[in-house]
């Protein structure tokens, strides 16, 4: 599998489709799990993933190699996820309370969820975080990305990300322990 600089060199040489195919081959699975961390259904994650790759394909001509390919792709995916979260919140807001399904119920109804009670509580607590804290926590805790990488993805300072992670951690701890 090609590395990012080889893919970029391929793209610069004019073979855009091959470069895109290499991006898909290299990142599709990892990107699926990145998106899945924020979505409680496989179908939603699949839709967001498709939209993300369409965005990548359309935005590829504007990629100048100033950022790393990996962080550029993650940024596009993260924006797609944030848009999805906003739409979800708006839809929940507009849905009558009797028809709105709580997150835990949706999670349990998902046929692809295979976690235990502790994982359910953790995911439910993460879902209640504000978007930025949720992003930072998921990328740091589940994806184990460096703060430097998250900082490039989210265009935010490392100090601010560390503070967001700490706040998220405290909120999750409080939520899980039921204080």
């Amino acid at each position: 599998m090609m590395n990012d600089s080889e893919i970029y060199a391929l793209y610069v040489s004019g073979d855009c489709e091959k470069a895109f195919n290499e991006i898909v081959k290299k990142y599709s699975e990892r990107l699926y799990w990145h998106i899945r961390s924020f979505s409680c259904s496989h179908q939603d994650a699949d839709d967001i993933l498709q939209d993300t790759f369409v965005k990548i394909w359309n935005a590829l001509p504007s990629f100048r190699g100033e950022a790393r390919l990996f962080t550029w792709i993650w940024r596009i995916a993260t924006n797609q996820v944030l848009n999805h979260i906003r739409h979800e919140r708006l839809r929940n807001f507009l849905t009558p309370a009797s028809e709105a399904r709580p997150y835990l119920e949706t999670l349990e109804a998902d046929q692809y969820f295979n976690g235990d009670d502790a994982q359910k509580r953790l995911l439910s607590a993460i879902e209640k975080l504000p978007p930025k804290q949720r992003m930072v926590f998921v990328m740091r805790y589940f994806e184990e990305l460096e703060y430097k990488d998250i900082s490039e993805i989210m265009h935010s300072s490392v100090g601010s990300l560390k503070a967001s992670y700490h706040h998220a951690y405290m909120k999750i701890k409080k939520e899980i322990s039921g204080d």
Partner: protein
Amino acid sequence: MKKLPYDVPDGYFDSLPGRLVSVCVERRVRNRLLYVGVAACLAIAVVCGFLFSGGNRAADADYLYGDGGLAVSGLSADEVYEEFLYSDLIPETDPDLFFYDGSAEYYPDGTDEAGAGNDTLMIDDL
């Protein structure tokens, strides 16, 4: 990366790259068709606009030029429109600037320096 508590359908990741590439190609073709469709609609709208504005223009000319209209006798419909165009160009605050340039002196009371008033350009002369 920590393992998330989710499964995926059987063979999902095997078919994923091929499916994503075909979705992107499909959407690109669809977007191009959409752009072509929008461009065609705009072109049709412009053509219809010309056709319909022609009809309105005749009706307007009739209103201006016909019986009981604005009675601009001796002017064709095009000339009537030209009059309106000129009137649009004349500045409201200082209309004389439109008719007189710096080459001729202008005295608002209709007289020149010598008081004869013969060489003064008047609006009626134009």
